[in-house]
């Protein structure tokens, strides 16, 4: 029976990648010179699984490589070897190596990784310092290597006296004899002399011994194999038939085991070659020679979902089915009297739909730890190359976000973290001079905030150097010298295209193409990135992203004949009668005085150049929304329903329109535009921080 092992390859690759990630993060947690047995065990287990799997599925290069690592790990685990930071580094390099090897197998490419050979040599060098006997053993079975010169024998005489406890290990002598019998005709003589009196007998013990004669010219190892599992605990003697063993012929017919006679002793059986019961791996098994290119190149993007999420989904569907049958029944003999029940049913249906949709969305949600997990290694490696001391803290790793968003945010995050490492954290000596702890800290933080996911990269480094940024920006012609810029505006300059302040372009962070690309990528995800920084104390980069790119909780609003959609999360409040709260500003936009704040008013009708039904401003309605860290009040005609809308890209179907993030199709079939608050703010030309902090009413409401 041959089974195509390649069908298991994909699962093996995936679990190996996971195992490597586990190894990596555990290695980074290891403190040199101490043995944290739980962590070592974790690493060992991962390496062990990869070795076992790769051997089984025919990736011998991976198996061999992992074997050396495993051996070293075993020594560390056993306490015979200390862990040094050099060894940790070597392990980390080998994790990379294994990953590369597996990736190549995964891609179906031939594997030629020189560093693997080199690393293996290094490991073998370390190991050969003190190689305990047990380490020598590879996956092969040394016991089988006894001389087989006597294979010319025409049979074997076997004396077998198992230990008393043999049955308690699930071994059964009868089974072994049947197996022997499959090799050739077998004569069995039982020695029952050791069976005690019935009163003192232990029914679970085996008191018997046997003498067996196998009339088959099989090799010694074939016989050994039968007793492989019990040889150590038993009194077992195997000698060629016809040798000195024929000493006791008188025993032969004494207590003959009748069982063996039932089988009939065909002489033909002698011709049957020994079945392949070999449990020792032979290198040229079919597994190893299986062509690896069979693995189809079709890239299937898959997602691992917790079973609870799937169960939820099934529950929802169950509910939906119940609702459907209830509605169906109602429809059979519908009268106006049953209208309330119909409405109730529809209400239930909409609730089901919503819940179902939420569960489906949850399936796409993954904890951000998937993305965060790559950073410990990155920081570890980079801080070594730069001779900086940096500690990375991860918080909020369980915060979930959409898989697509997650995939796309990876690179911008890497860039920002590299940037903090390179430009943010100072050299240890500079930090000490500045009175800071020698070790810098970079924190990656994630949390949910009003329907968004917020990711922060916080460092306690030097902070942004405003003077330098300004100088550079002027030099690049991004701003003029006379511009009066706020701190935030200056900081924001680093996101302008073609901006770099690194004294020397290092290979760590970008070559000045970075930050604008970061911002553009994030904007493409409907997200935003901002920086706050205090010179000498550090910087905080804050990324805000929608949880999903597919669905939006929307508030339908009407301006004239047009219905637009505002993201519900951006709405702070709505105000109907705002007479007396209005402040008209000459040459600027009107302001709404909202408690202690002044909020600029944006008239949607004038921005989109459409007719509003409200003749006067006072007839309308103000919706206070927040976007890009500031509040504005939108003047609209009316609020309509709230509903979830499926976001359709406007760019794909039409073209990009400022102030609009997408479109959707409403229940009545019309297309409605989804408003983009930061875009609207820009479009309306509202100055950003002009109205932010207000202490004195008269100053601002001129």
């Amino acid at each position: 029976m041959s089974i195509d092992l390649s069908q298991f390859h994909q699962v093996f690759f995936e679990e190996s990648y996971e195992g490597l990630d586990v190894m990596e993060s555990a290695l980074l947690n290891l403190q040199p010179d101490t043995v944290d047995s739980e962590t070592i065990n974790e690493i060992f287990r991962a390496a062990h699984s990869i070795k076992g799997g790769s051997g089984t599925f025919g990736f011998n290069d991976v198996a061999e490589f992992t074997h050396v690592i495993e051996t070293l790990l075993d020594e560390i685990r056993g306490g015979t070897r200390n862990i040094t930071s050099e060894i940790v580094d070597l392990f980390l390099q080998s994790v990379d190596c294994i990953r590369k090897l597996i990736q190549q197998h995964d891609a179906g490419e031939p594997c030629e990784i020189p560093e693997a050979t080199e690393l293996k040599k290094i490991f073998e060098g370390i190991l050969s310092g003190n190689v305990p006997a047990s380490e020598r053993a590879t996956a092969s079975e040394p016991a089988a290597s006894e001389p087989e010169g006597s294979s010319s024998t025409h049979g074997w005489k076997i004396y077998f006296k198992p230990e008393l406890d043999i049955l308690r290990t699930g071994n059964d002598p009868l089974r072994m004899f049947r197996e022997l019998e499959s090799l050739g005709p077998l004569r069995i003589t039982a020695d029952v002399s050791k069976i005690p009196l019935i009163g003192s007998i232990d029914p679970e013990a085996c008191y018997m011994a046997w003498e067996l004669e196998l009339d088959a010219g099989v090799s010694r190892s074939a016989v050994d194999e039968v007793f492989e599992w019990v040889v150590d605990e038993s009194d077992l003697r195997i000698e060629p038939l016809g040798s000195a063993a024929v000493l006791e012929p008188e025993h032969e017919e004494k207590v003959s085991d009748t069982a063996n006679n039932e089988q009939g002793m065909d002489k033909e059986k002698e011709a049957i070659p020994s079945p392949s019961v070999s449990v020792t791996p032979s290198p040229n098994q079919e597994v190893a020679t299986k062509p690896k290119k069979e693995a189809s190149k079709v890239e299937v993007s898959s997602i691992r979902v917790g079973i609870d999420k799937v169960d939820d989904l099934i529950n929802m569907v169950g509910e939906l089915v119940i609702t459907q049958s209830m509605l169906g029944e109602l429809g059979l003999d519908f009268t106006m009297e049953s209208l309330p029940r119909l409405l109730e049913g529809i209400e239930q249906l909409s609730q089901n739909t919503r819940e179902l949709q939420e569960s489906v969305m949850r399936i796409r949600m993954l904890p951000i730890s998937f993305t965060f997990s790559r950073f410990p290694r990155l920081v570890h490696d980079l801080s070594r190359t730069m001779n900086k001391k940096i500690e990375l803290k991860l918080t909020g790793e369980q915060t979930e976000l959409d898989k697509t968003v997650m995939e796309k945010i990876g690179d911008p995050l890497v860039h920002l973290v590299r940037n903090s490492l390179d430009h943010g954290i100072e050299m240890p000596e500079d930090r000490i001079k500045a009175g800071k702890p020698e070790t810098g800290t970079i924190t990656l933080n994630a949390f949910h905030q009003s329907g968004n996911i917020v990711i922060q990269i916080i460092d306690d480094g030097a902070g942004l150097n405003k003077a330098k940024i300004l100088e550079k920006a002027v030099e690049k012609g991004l701003v003029s010298e006379n511009d009066d810029l706020s701190d935030d505006q200056i900081h924001d300059l680093i996101f302008k295209p073609g901006f770099s302040t690194a004294d020397q372009v290092s290979d760590i962070s970008g070559r000045g193409v970075g930050m604008d690309v970061v911002r553009r990528n994030i904007n493409e995800l409907n997200g935003s990135v901002e920086v706050e920084s205090t010179e000498g104390q550090g910087s905080i980069f804050t990324i805000r992203l929608p949880l999903t790119l597919a669905i939006l909780d929307g508030q339908l609003i009407r301006v004239g004949e047009h219905v637009y959609i505002l993201p519900l999360i951006s709405i702070v409040e709505s105000i109907q009668s705002f007479q007396g709260m209005l402040h008209r500003v000459v040459g600027g936009c009107d302001l709404l005085r909202l408690r202690d704040e002044y909020v600029p008013i944006i008239k949607l009708s004038s921005i989109f150049n459409i007719k509003s039904t409200a003749q006067d401003m006072d007839d309308g309605l103000l919706v206070v929304v927040e976007g890009d860290n500031m509040k504005v009040a939108l003047l609209i005609d009316d609020l309509e329903a709230q509903q979830q809308v499926v976001i359709k890209s406007l760019e794909e179907n039409y073209k990009r329109v400022d102030g609009v993030s997408g479109a959707t199709i409403l229940g009545n079939g019309t297309v409605s535009l989804i408003l983009d608050i930061p875009g609207l703010i820009k479009l309306a030309g509202v100055q950003r921080y002009e109205y932010k902090v207000v202490n004195n009413d008269d100053d601002c409401a001129a």
Binding site: M1, I3, R45, K51, T56, T169, R175, V277, V279
Partner: protein
């Protein structure tokens, strides 16, 4: 045919073992660690247990010891699937009560030949 409990924390190994055994007509119950295996074993009776050694939560040796304390698993064959081929590791398994072992890596044919040894 036989009812076999296959225990391995590696999904690919579990799939391979399970696929092979099912292909040979056996009924397979899967578990991904010793604890899960023990729980599943308690709820049923199997003819053979195939277990990995290194596993999270509960390792294979502990599983064997625990199984042997259950009256209906006293004599059930339990084979360890192990990469350890050295004598002392095998002894540990035997002392825990394992019937025998199958050294990884193995291919489906080797697996079938080995279980034939214990299932007859």
């Amino acid at each position: 045919m036989a009812r076999i409990l296959a225990v391995d924390d590696s999904a690919s190994m579990r799939q391979m073992v399970s696929f092979t055994l099912k292909g040979a007509g056996h009924d397979v119950i899967e578990a991904s660690d010793g604890k899960e295996a023990l729980d599943k074993a308690k709820g049923t009776q199997v003819d053979l247990v195939l277990s990995d050694v290194n596993m999270p939560v509960m390792d294979g040796l502990t599983l064997v010891k625990e199984l042997r304390t259950l009256p209906n698993y006293k004599f059930t064959p339990i084979l360890m699937l192990t990469t350890e081929s050295t004598g002392d590791k095998k002894m540990e398994g035997k002392q825990a009560g394992a019937t025998g072992w199958l050294v990884k890596p193995f291919n489906p044919d080797q697996l079938l030949a080995t279980i034939k040894k214990v299932l007859g």
